[in-house]
Amino acid sequence: MRPYLAVFKDSFREAFASRILWLITGLITLILFVGLAPFALREETAYRFQRNEFRNGPEFLQFLSSQETAKTPSAARKVWSRLPESLRHRLHVVSPTNINEQLDVLRDVRAEFNGMVDNKELYDPKLWPPNSLTGEGRRLAERGWDNLSTDEQRRLNRLLIDAAFPDFVLPAPGRNLYAEWFGYRLGAPLPFEPKQLTLLVNYALAVLTTFLAGILGVLIAILVTAPTVPQTFEPGAIDLLLSKPVSRSLLFLTKFFGASTFILLNSIYLIGGMWLIAGLRFDIWSGKLLMCIPVFLFLFVIYYSVSALTGVIWRNAIVSVCCTALFWGVCFTVGTAKRVAETTFLDPIRLSAIVPAGEKLLSVNRSGQTFEWGADRQAWEEVFRGRDEGGGAQFFFRPSLIGPVYDPIHNRIVAIESARTRFELFGGSGKLLIGERNQEWRRMENAVTPSNPQALLIDPKGHILVVSLTGIFRFEGDAKHEHRPFKVFGVDISPQDSGKFEKIGPLPEQKWRRPFAAAINHEDGRLAIFSHGMLSLITPDSEGRYTVRHETEIDTEKGAVIDFVGGRIALATGDGHLRIFDGASLTEEVDLTPRARAKPRKLAGSPDGRRLAELFDDGHVWLYDVEEQKPFSARIGSQGDITAIAFSPENRLLAADGFGRVIAYQLDPFARGNAYQSPLDTLQVLYRYVVTPLYTIFPKPGELNEVVTYFVVGDPIELFEPSRTPKDELQREERPPVDIWQPIISNVIFLAVVLTITCVYIERRDF
């Protein structure tokens, strides 16, 4: 043992004799004490309007301008009346097609709103009835202006303006967070809520750690340690060492881990320092951050193993560094090729929905293209194509499509193409799209939907229902012919002869919030709606008007997917729970966590009400026997790569995999049925038979960074998709599941193989 301890000790002597070590230590000290320690986050009451708190900009400006001609007093008109005359005029004349001009006006409106928060005269109880205000707003209003502090007065006015424009102004967060450095405030408030402080700090730590330790640190460490092995094995030095009673392999491994330990000490200093600063400054003692130390050491060790192997063979530090850089490049190229192929080319053409349409089978890919299975050609054939589309997947600017859903009464499919883009400021309503079977599913545009459509449903009578945040709407009018909306002020307007959406409830009036999910019972038209932790059962009367019958609170702030399964309601939430409620009383019958770490993407109840299938974001499907109240075991293929599920009218489970193949499974008794798959194209063949095997073989050092983020933050999506953002977190399409073991296992195997090769080489070589 003593000889190896001597080698180990010498590694430290060598390190401490290195000037670079002291340079790095100085750099780390500078980062910790000058860069990070002076950082602070300060909380303030949120009353100022921020640029990103407006949505549907053109509609908002139009709505504000329309207050001039409003005949009845309203909160919106009151706010409009407080705007200066010049701005009201600009609202009137702003060009509907000039986005820059609209942005200018919107900026001025925001500035005026910010000035208005000090206006004592704004509140009028008649215009802001208590039910239009949030609980906080009601409490502040009841206390009276004079009994409020300045911050509270401003907060009240902010809430009043929010309530005046619920469709256009995002609800104000309670408190704003500001970043400060050496006491100086750094710009606008952070787009995070104070309750996200821990998540935010942890995320910042993860990003910083990844950059400082995972990228910069590893790079420097490779440069610093590259000469160690070549110097040890150079002629004259190795002769002396191997003449001693030591094993060649153990000598190498001791030297290798000696250098690694030196890097470990630096990592401890850097990450430990960050951990201390986060603890002392923000009182966030993230123990998981310390777990990153071994992860980064592991990351370094992988690169260093390559450096050491080449160092032993060529005994040249420069060659070692070059080979390590080459290795990094190959890993990066393989990983990037896979990721680019997936996100840019394969994801858009992966199936996101399966729509059994009578005797036909339709599917939708992530680009919004709809396909029908062509039994003759044994291939998916595109149908329901838009008039302006040239065919082919939309890789970069995908239309946001709700549906299509199949209407068995009229033998047609219906969808909503949302006008909103990824930029929420310029978005709002959608267009109703209808395709009839007897017209080969030709897409026909029809009426403009209400603002912010959330769900598209078909009731048992074949009525088209659109659920938005403000209510339930039924399409009335001609659905047989096309009635293309036209644009006015940049906004889609329904033509006179098109159908209209009539509000059919619910009563009492509801203001739903996201996260949102809705489902309909195809037997009796009951609706189950999940809105921000509240599950509502809404039933239609004889005229089809909806009334809220029952409500129950769900203890979650996460998103959800929902479906009817027979007479029951199944609700799967982002926190991993699957709850089944009685469909009449909303009594909870079952609460399960089938795959706690995965998030639900789709729920599907079988038409006979016996089976429930849940698809998770990690591509797994889980089956549940609702009647016997126990999981149902079935050998579903392509588990881990399933992108869509549905039940056919014959109660067969349809599951689509990542290569666009849909397989039908009979569940009673279990049997695999037909497969519906087009021949693979060149890209898919390359991906399947070249990129994927290469990726499997190669180590994945880059993925360890994701492991670090997962360790420290959990799922970072929760930081960027808080409940007040419009996009439902569960509807995200590209969310690679974080599997921390896969990269660790693959990298451990790689490390073991490289070290073994090195040891065998050393044992066999003549020195």
Binding site: R13, E14, L240, L242, S243, P245, V246, S247
Partner: protein
């Protein structure tokens, strides 16, 4: 490993029945047999022994080019002697040492050190080695280098610290222990290398060019150290180009040429054996000798005194010498003394090497 040398038809030896006692030579139990035992020789008295040792390096792509560095070398070094290994560059001297230490894998044959197969790890604990172009890491000082190499030889730190001053003093680095090795001259580095080789009190010292770069005073000091070690019963295996030094301190010498052992003997015998000239002291006047030997090749002639003349002639072997003696006696010249001309080791070495085949240099190690 071959603890005994057995001739053909040797009796079977139950190796599993060996009994090893720490610090004592192994006892070998030989089963009784009717077959005569021609030779069973215990080699425990030998520090180094090789038999038909060969090493072929493979070079180039896929190792297709072969370079033979050792070709059937058989030699033995007794315990307690100073043994010199000589040979021109590329003769295979360093390869031989590396095979003995296990740094290079032999291709065929057998090699043993201190009774164990060459390269045997625990045995290396008893061996001190100074490589020809050793490189001590530059971040070490004289003191920490001895700590490092002593630790590698499994010497406790306390023991190293106790021995260190004395050792450094012995090799002339008493004042340089705290100085970084990178500031050492070539000679100082060589002295430190010698110190690390002696630190763990080895039974066998293998020194490859120990005085390389060392000044004459230093060389004398190193010679003195080696002499002292010999008096302590240590075995020293010395590889050096400085033949005068080898001549001064070695008991026996082996000469390698192109991977083969050319000669192995005592220094004295080597000098004698390799001489091709005879010196005859004649009791006669110069003119009569000149007359008698007219037309024959006389290498040198000098008058010793008015009555004696000394001549040097070529006489590679005894018949040649007898021929000269017969010739002189037939001419009536009295011969006062006959002897071989005494050579220096260098002359003997050069004679041997220059007469060795085509006289080309050997091979260089591919590494």
């Amino acid at each position: 490993m071959w603890p005994q040398t057995l001739s053909a038809h040797a009796p079977s030896v139950d190796l599993s029945a060996r009994e090893f006692v720490l610090g004592k030579p192994p006892t070998i139990i030989v089963e009784p047999t009717e077959e005569p035992i021609f030779e069973i020789r215990m080699l425990d008295s030998l520090a180094i022994q090789t038999r038909d040792l060969s090493k072929t390096y493979r070079d180039g792509w896929f190792g297709r080019r072969k370079v033979q560095a050792l070709a059937g070398v058989s030699l033995s070094v007794s315990r307690g002697e100073i043994f010199g290994l000589l040979g021109p560059n590329g003769a295979g001297k360093t390869t031989l040492i590396k095979v003995l230490l296990g740094l290079v894998h032999k291709s065929s044959g057998e090699a043993e050190m201190l009774g164990r197969p060459a390269g045997h790890r625990p045995t290396r604990r008893k061996i001190g080695y100074l490589p020809e172009h050793h490189r001590i890491p530059h971040h070490l000082t004289g003191n920490t280098a001895l700590e490092y190499y002593g630790g590698l030889s499994n010497v406790p730190l306390r023991e190293i610290r106790r021995l260190r001053p004395k050792l450094l003093e012995m090799v002339g680095l008493g004042r340089w222990g705290k100085t970084l090795v990178r500031k050492y001259s070539k000679g100082m580095s060589q002295r430190l290398g010698l110190a690390q080789a002696m630190l763990h009190d080895p039974d066998l010292l293998i020194l490859d060019e120990p005085t390389d770069g060392v000044d004459p005073v230093g060389r004398a000091e190193i010679r003195e150290v080696l002499g002292r070690l010999k008096s302590e019963g240590k075995t020293i295996f010395l590889n050096s180009h400085l033949l005068q030094e080898v001549e001064l301190i070695c008991d026996r010498v082996a000469i390698l040429g192109r991977g083969k052992l050319r000669r192995m003997d005592t220094v004295h015998a080597l000098r004698q054996h390799t001489s091709l000239e005879a010196v005859l002291t004649l009791r006669a006047d110069e003119s009569s000798v000149r007359r008698l030997l007219n037309g024959r090749k006389v290498l040198a002639a000098e008058s010793v005194d008015p009555e004696h003349l000394r001549i040097t002639v070529e006489a590679a072997d005894q018949p040649a010498l007898d021929h000269w003696i017969d010739l002189l006696r037939q001419g009536g010249i009295s011969i006062a003394a006959v002897g071989r001309r005494q050579q220096t080791l260098e002359q003997a070495f050069l004679d041997l090497i220059m007469n060795d085949g085509d006289g080309k240099e050997g091979v260089n190690r591919p590494t």
